[in-house]
Symmetry: C2
Subunit: 340 residues, 2 copies
Amino acid sequence: MTQTREIRLKRRPVGTPVDDDFEMATISLPDPADGEVQVRNLWMAVDPAMRGRMSDAKSYIPPFALDAAMEGPAIGEVVASRDPAFRPGDLVFSRLGWREMFNAPASALQHREAGGLPPQAWLCFAGMPGLTAYAGLMRIAQLKAGDLVFVSAASGAVGSIACQIARNLGHKVIGSAGGPEKTAFLRDVLKVDAAIDYKAEPSLTKALAREVKGLGAKGIDVYFENVGGDHLQAALSLANDFARFAVCGMISQYNVTDAPTVPRNLTMVMTKRIRMEGYIALDHMDLEPEMVARMTEWNAQGQMASAETVYDGIERALDAFAGLFTGANMGRTLVRLTPG
Amino acid sequence: MTQTREIRLKRRPVGTPVDDDFEMATISLPDPADGEVQVRNLWMAVDPAMRGRMSDAKSYIPPFALDAAMEGPAIGEVVASRDPAFRPGDLVFSRLGWREMFNAPASALQHREAGGLPPQAWLCFAGMPGLTAYAGLMRIAQLKAGDLVFVSAASGAVGSIACQIARNLGHKVIGSAGGPEKTAFLRDVLKVDAAIDYKAEPSLTKALAREVKGLGAKGIDVYFENVGGDHLQAALSLANDFARFAVCGMISQYNVTDAPTVPRNLTMVMTKRIRMEGYIALDHMDLEPEMVARMTEWNAQGQMASAETVYDGIERALDAFAGLFTGANMGRTLVRLTPG
């Protein structure tokens, strides 16, 4: 028996979640049963999609249950195992975040290599955000030598990795983000060639044109689309013929209820022969080994910065989650559950 | 010396062209000089892009010269030749329409096969409209077995061919056009599986949903896009996952000056993993031999209807052109210059 803590959903939030929607429960964790593994989580990640699961609206993933620990990506270490596939000390990925320790059937866990990468990398550049960025650039946009790459939401969990992949592959990269702190992060940490603070620009199209020109280019060849609306309009305006747009997200449009802020120049898809393609990383899991190999190499060479906002301790998990919506966080938002 | 007629641009039209903007000139055509070929045009085609060339706005093709015969695709027969590559009786394609006869350097002419196809087919299903439809479906949309195909502007020069290609390849086809006469043409001549009169439908999305359901399908797999706006919105709404949109045109959006009528559901590009790609037939000339071979075969089997609106005589060429803008014409708009 071990005492451990987990965060439960007590009631479904209306609007912005408040403290009383959750409770921190301390539970006594029994020894693992036959076929079970006991895991101590090292890190968990929070992401905006969790807000959806707190409601009981119909979606492609079921809502979180009430009075039970929430779920989310986590990386942990096996403490005890009653399954032959796992041994104490093994590093494991699970969807069982929001808890410090847990027992789970072996089928709920996936091995991760302990060597070479910091454990939290499996939630960031070597995890789903990494695969999302990698698949978008390599398979959807079919990045090729000489392409100038524009990344929107470039300080975000996926955008920050997309910037670095493109840069590591020798491309010029223009990133956009909101506010001077974020654009400094783009320049200093992600080392993009040009950073646009879209909040400070009266016209995003003019700003992008200026940066494209500043890099001695005629236009952009690849757009890593996370935002939609004005960002998409600017990208269409500055696209070279045969540009490829990998549509990872259109976050500016998700909550639009009346007339959408849409590109006024969608006809450029035709005149410029643009290919615009939506994708979801889950469809591209076959790229994972290749992606992990490259990330491991780049990390070893000091070419993959940890783009993370870290909160310490499960008691700060809700602050971490709230930070996703205030725009305070940069890169992937992580909670360190066990001091390293 | 031969007397022949041609239509010249006398002054640049403001708004809708009027008769006084043009003149019919009768000229004396000398015998061809060395290296020249004399051609009697059999058919010429008119298309909306000619309106642009009547103005002197900057564009990717130069404006028509004043006081000179206009230009446009034509198919003709060699009358006399002083170039070894051409002989009397040869069928030739040129951009020298709007005239009954002309002398031109051999470099302005391309041979066409006289056998198998009616001469005007080289301006229609075996010409650029055919290549546009073929490249869009085969290369851009990558049509594959079982795809349900939606074609907008299905009664138009390109749409009417796209419908027939898809149908001939065994696909179910839904076409949309404006008015009962055009939808009857879709059903009776093009033999589509379902025809939508978009002018009679309060909601194009609901109409498309109804026809998709009527064909026992869940959604569309390929959208041949000619229109944009509401048509694109309906196509996005009814698209299956991984649908491919070949963007040939967005005619509803070309003259929009204020807020564009845009799809409110562009985020579906991501959630449904849609690939939307613009193209221009000129980039796909390598497909021409394959396209002509298939068209010739389909034509021989009675499976490629001539989707044409024909005006007789050069004196009706301006009526033919005007008909493009009143919505009166179906399929390709042709002028028969020499009675067959």
